[in-house]
């Protein structure tokens, strides 16, 4: 008992300790906040550098030529800067990938969440994660050495060595696990009570899956599609290796094309010097790419927020 008043009688040191602790707290808080601000700085830097490097480009090339021109040849004389061929190439890859990834991804999502037993699920999920974790360069190799010679060329002997079909197929395979896993998450967020109610009314498993669970999870499914397509738009290495470097407006998937991303790689590998128009043109292309993917991600998040069914 006698020891208690003694500690109270010396107030100076605990107070000093408290002040020190308080100062330290504020300092640490500041440092941590700076870490979080790095992400904002990154966004700012991305937008700043894209604008700064592409503004000189747009001072020379008119916007109408860039967006409406049908010839893209920045490395030739006379140079042409119509971005539409690159956009067509990117669209071919993206739509082709969607044709593969959406049905397979959606079916896998439904199977994982509604049909598979917990044991099977715990086996399939990691396998799909492995598929999603394989570097894109490996997919590019797979497209070039397997999909083109053994699938595309077998079916269509006239196909080019580099062709849009192989690129689209391999990008489809690449984003398939993303769709499957996001759809699976969306389906599993639908409460069991809805399923039980449907089963009690005599619905079959398929009817429960397609007529009850799918509509309830539709916002998540749509968001998954859009996110996967935005990934396909930004995909670089696989399409560079598989689909070639020939910008053109030809919609035939058997020919060599060039995507927005593949053009950036082509110029980066070449000799274009800092300050040249060819160097600046990759920033104009990157700005367009950035705007497209940002818009798609924005739509995906809006869809998720706006149309989500909330269950309690």
């Amino acid at each position: 008992l006698s020891s208690v008043p003694q500690t109270i009688a010396r107030p100076a040191s605990p107070l000093a300790g408290l002040r020190f602790r308080h100062a330290r707290e504020e300092g640490i808080r500041g440092v941590l906040a700076l870490c979080a601000l790095v992400s904002v700085l990154t966004t700012g830097a991305i937008i700043y550098m894209l604008l700064r490097e592409s503004l000189p480009f747009f001072a020379v090339v008119r916007l109408s030529e860039f967006f409406l021109g049908t010839e893209w040849a920045p490395l030739f004389e006379p140079a042409r800067f119509g971005v539409l061929p690159l956009v067509v190439g990117t669209l071919q890859i993206t739509l082709g990938a969607a044709l593969i990834a959406i049905p397979f991804g959606l079916a896998s999502g439904i199977y994982l969440s509604e049909y598979a037993s917990p044991r099977l699920r715990s086996m399939l999920k990691p396998l799909l994660e492995v598929l999603a974790g394989i570097p894109t360069i490996v997919y590019g190799y797979f497209a070039l050495t397997f999909i083109t010679p053994y699938i595309v060329k077998r079916l269509f002997p006239s196909a080019d060595v580099f062709n849009a079909a192989a690129g689209a197929i391999v990008v489809g395979i690449m984003v398939l696990p993303l769709i499957a896993s996001l759809c699976d998450d969306a389906f599993r967020a639908v409460p069991e009570s809805l399923r039980h109610a449907a089963y009690a009314m005599g619905a079959t498993k398929l009817e429960v899956s397609l007529q009850v669970v799918l509509p309830a999870a539709l916002s998540g499914v749509f968001a998954a599609f859009i996110l996967a397509l935005s990934r396909a738009v930004g995909e670089t290495m696989a399409v560079t290796l598989a689909a070639g470097a020939t910008p053109n407006m030809n919609w035939s998937p058997l020919h060599s094309i060039q995507t927005l991303t593949a053009f950036i790689v082509q110029v980066a590998q070449g000799e274009a010097q800092h300050g040249e128009i060819a160097y600046q043109s990759i920033f104009a292309v990157a700005l367009l790419l950035f705007a497209i993917t940002l818009t798609m991600n924005f739509i995906a998040h809006k869809v998720l927020k706006r149309f989500r069914e909330v269950y309690d």
């Binding site: 808080r29 790095v38 992400s39 570097p135 050495t145």
Partner: protein, 299 residues
């Protein structure tokens, strides 16, 4: 009364054709969905089989110890291995403190105000930016503006920015999983916020954070697109410092794969095998950590 009962009894053994059709359809479509899921797994198997068949004959000791060469029989990945190790090590040193720090701020400190909402939305947007755009950011900012050149440090800074959103998101999930009772207990004993985080929340969340960090570093190891702009396409030396030029494994693979000669494509396959082995080790480590902590903590 009796008429109704016989009706029910008769209905049971002969389900109406409609019900039989619906049940049959459900079964058939289920099998189709299952087959489509397994098709993805089959593709994975074909991919790995192709890479092994092409690359294994080229995977000899000198493949690891030699530099790249125009003679396929002598070419190796020494420079790429060393470059990848340097790049990954530096990326880890930069991105882990930044990412975990940002996650702690957002999860433990930040109030729900406009600035912090903005930071959160911003991070989720950054995760969707194509990796080639990060390469351009690194090229303009680190290589040219800061005069770092096409060096290890410029690559590590670029890669750090690329994986930061992934580290932050994973670390936040791990911090979120720590129950509030632990924080309340520590606060009640007079701990400051930092003491609560450092002594109680962080240790409990560490396995989850570690898993996220390893997975994002494995992404950095396999990422080629931004490195196309910063790494050297072919190089015959090992970096000795942060300012040296370098190449990484995915770029060496890209270089070989894009040559028309079949020998070089097989070299690319051998490089892919090495890359996949490293990724497998890292992912197994992450799974091991996740598995072992799920058993240890029960809240």
């Amino acid at each position: 009364m009796s008429a109704v009962q016989t009706d029910i009894i008769r209905a049971k053994p002969h389900a109406s054709p409609n019900v039989r059709f619906r049940k049959g359809r459900a079964g058939v479509v289920g099998i189709i969905f299952g087959a489509m899921t397994w098709f993805a797994v089959l593709l994975l198997a074909v991919l790995i089989w192709r890479v092994l068949a092409d690359g294994l004959p080229y995977l000899k000791r000198h493949f690891i110890t030699n530099f790249a060469s125009y003679k396929a029989a002598k070419a190796g990945i020494k420079a790429a291995l060393a470059g990848s190790a340097w790049m990954l090590g530096c990326t880890a040193l930069i991105s882990i403190p930044l990412g975990v720090g940002a996650a702690i701020y957002l999860q433990e400190y930040a109030r729900k105000n406009k600035l912090n909402r903005f930071i959160e939305v911003n991070i989720s947007n950054l995760a969707g930016v194509p990796s080639i755009v990060y390469g351009l950011l690194g090229l303009t900012t680190f290589v040219y503006l800061l005069h770092l050149g096409r060096s290890v440090i410029a690559a590590a800074l670029t890669m750090s920015l690329l994986i930061l959103p992934v580290i932050i998101t994973a670390s936040r999930e791990a911090l979120k999983a720590v129950p509030d009772s632990i924080r309340h207990g520590a606060f009640a004993l007079g701990a400051t916020r930092w003491e609560v985080v450092r002594n109680h929340v962080l240790p409990a969340a560490l396995p989850g954070i570690l898993t996220g960090v390893i997975l994002s570093l494995s992404r950095a190891l396999g990422e080629a697109a931004p490195m196309v702009l910063i790494a050297a396409l072919s190089i015959r030396s090992v970096p000795k410092g942060l300012g040296d030029s370098f190449t990484v494994l995915p770029i060496q693979i890209f270089n070989w794969a894009s040559r028309p000669k079949e020998e070089f494509q097989h070299l690319a396959a051998a490089g892919i095998i090495v890359l996949l082995i490293f990724l497998l080790v890292m992912n197994s480590l992450a799974v091991y950590i996740r598995y072992h902590t799920e058993k240890k903590y029960k809240w």
